[in-house]
């Protein structure tokens, strides 16, 4: 409807409302003239205005109530399981500790249920299905496996996963006061789990300490593939990606996740870099406390992290000597390489990252770093401590021997020289003045002198 006509309609509608019904009809007849369409329009609106729109408002309220049915509480039964307590709740669903009730073994499991409103959104249902598929395809000792899946009585899907009784990896390292090398070994196990996911074309997209629990046996387990993505070129649902990006944890997000770029395995490598930073330095690479999501996003995209060796938090179970000395150089390099802003400049794979960490642990030069010749020699020496020490010892012994021999030789020749000078002293014209000694006399003289001296030197 053109604005002009709508204004006219509005004017007539209110003018008619102010009049009593009889005069209103006559007024409209006159005002509309031969525009019968306008007349009909105004009359139908006047007619409607006698009724209430309250039913529509109530419908809104009812839908509001209906859509927010709450999640079940402990004690409820889901399939063959009994919910025991809520472990955590997020935007899309909640995870419960539950127990299987039909078998002999009262196995504890974790059950993920959808928020009631979620189950009616096809997009969210799709995410849940994807998570189920992803978990079903992953089988790794350090990934909490999917045990079962099903539908609740009211048609809501649920996932049953292994219950991991553990604490977040950063807390674990802190409580156990692990040394750098032990932290790295733990990190390598996490890398292996992520690498396994990548090999199965799955990007986790939400790697953070809260999703890596370490059991009492010191075994890390990667969990929550809730916003994981299949690296499938066909599965490129931008809306789902954006949604997932809103659900992830900004603190461990990569720049491309923040600005909504293409998210690949490199995003997980970035998150692993941040994780390693946190494990080694005992603090997050950036000061994010009290910052808004917007500011956090900006920091992640633009600010360069300080080397972990320079920002060690000593309150985090790190011994100062162990921390800063061991981080400088190689570990700083590994962490900052994994955390580079541009995905293409990070490690090309989790395997490459693991290789460098392993190289550090075994004292080999990193694959991604250039060294001076001096550093290389130093590394070689540290790597082969015993051999180098042995070699140095042998060299030292040989040197000593050589010196001793040289000194010995020098002593002998000095003796010879003094003998010679004694032999020939008598031939000195100043000593044997006036006498004319023949060659024979010198020789016999010498033999006597030598004999005398020989007696003086004990054999």
């Amino acid at each position: 409807m053109e604005p002009e006509r709508w204004r006219r309609l509005e004017e007539l509608f209110y003018a008619a409302l102010e009049r009593d019904p009889q005069t209103a009809a006559a007024f409209l007849q006159q005002a509309c003239g031969n525009d019968s369409e306008l007349l009909g329009e105004v009359q139908s609106l006047l007619n409607s205005s006698k009724h209430s729109l309250g039913f529509a408002h109530n419908a809104v309220l009812n839908v509001a109530r209906e859509q927010s049915v709450v999640l079940p509480s402990a004690g409820k039964r889901v399939g063959a399981y009994m919910l025991q307590k809520k472990l955590g709740e997020g935007g899309m669903g909640a995870v419960y500790l539950a127990i299987r009730t039909d078998g002999e073994d009262q196995q504890q499991v974790a059950i993920k249920l959808m928020q009631p409103w979620v189950r009616l959104s096809p997009r969210m249902l799709q995410r849940f299905t994807t998570e189920r598929q992803i978990l079903a395809n992953l089988s790794h000792p350090n990934i909490a496996p999917l045990l079962d899946a099903g539908m609740t009585d009211d048609d809501s899907p649920y996932l049953v996963m292994e219950y991991v009784a553990g604490i977040p990896i950063d807390d674990y390292c802190c409580q156990a006061r692990l040394l750098t090398n032990d932290r790295l070994k733990l990190f390598l196990i996490v890398c292996a789990a992520v690498e396994h996911a990548h090999k199965n074309l799955v990007v986790h997209r939400d790697i953070k300490p809260a999703n890596i629990l370490v059991t009492a046996e010191g075994m890390p387990k990667l969990l929550d593939f809730g916003i994981a993505k299949l690296l499938d070129p066909i599965d490129d649902d931008q809306a789902v990606t954006r949604l997932s990006q809103r659900m992830m944890t900004l603190e461990y997000a990569s720049p491309e996740q923040v600005y909504g770029g293409r998210v690949t395995a490199a995003a997980d490598i970035h998150a692993l870099g941040v994780l390693l930073y946190v494990l080694l330095a005992g603090r997050h690479p950036f000061q994010l406390k009290g910052k808004s999501p917007l500011e956090i996003g900006q920091i992640i995209c633009e600010q360069r992290a300080e080397e972990p060796s320079r920002s060690v938090d000593l309150g985090s179970g790190r011994s100062p000597a162990d921390a800063s000395r061991s981080l400088q150089g190689d570990l700083d390099h590994i962490v900052l390489t994994a955390m580079r802003k541009r995905p293409s400049r990070r490690y090309s794979s989790v395997a490459a990252l693991s290789r460098d960490v392993t190289a550090y642990l075994t004292g080999h030069p990193l694959h991604t770093r250039t060294y001076t010749r001096f550093d290389r020699v130093g590394k070689f020496a540290r790597r082969h401590k015993a051999a180098v020490a042995g070699a140095l010892l042998i060299i030292l012994v040989l040197l000593c021997l050589a010196v001793a021999m040289a000194m010995h030789k020098r002593g002998a020749s000095q003796r010879l020289a003094s003998q010679a000078s004694a032999v020939f002293r008598c031939w000195n014209p100043a000593v044997g003045r006036g006498c004319k000694l023949g060659a024979m006399a010198v020789a016999s003289n010498a033999s006597r002198t030598l004999r005398l001296q020989g007696k003086a030197i004990p054999d």
């Binding site: 509608f13 409607s48 205005s49 809104v60 309220l61 509001a64 927010s68 409103w117 917007l294």
Partner: protein, 189 residues
Amino acid sequence: MSSESQSVTSLLQRWSSGDRRALDELVPIIYQELRRLASRCFSSERSGHTLRATALVHEAYLRLVEADIQWQDRAHFYAIAARVMRRILVEYARAHRRHKRGSGQIHVPLDEAVVVGPDAAAIVSDLDDALQRLAAIDPRRSDIVQLLFFGGLTYEETAAALNISPATVHRELKLAKAWLLREMEPRAS
């Protein structure tokens, strides 16, 4: 003041000074807060609150924004929250219709003194369609209904949010309601 409230306030300011991207960031924040409040507010222990259902945007406001922001920013907040709430409810209603099609009416608790039509979800979906058509002709009238029905605001608050007098809200609403009713006629009768 929490960081959340700082961020919402600065986003509102950016938005009112013409930065359209600020809206993209505001919507998810408000969306999440409304969701969270909704699931708590409608839980059975608090069923007394159900009729204040859409007044949730008030609570969201109190949680997300510090008390003394500029009046205009406050109005903007309500406008966005009502829009978000509308989207949440309409999305749900549409999904529900698809889900329950052919399986009868939606469940309405008996203790609620509410007159419910044959299918609340269908009505909400139709109301949304009609509101969209109204917005094309007369955006302000569409906003008034959105704030009142989906935002759960009072007439006074709606007036304040739109920078008009409560009397104007009353007056404009008359035509808006008549028009919407006529558009939704087959269902209303």
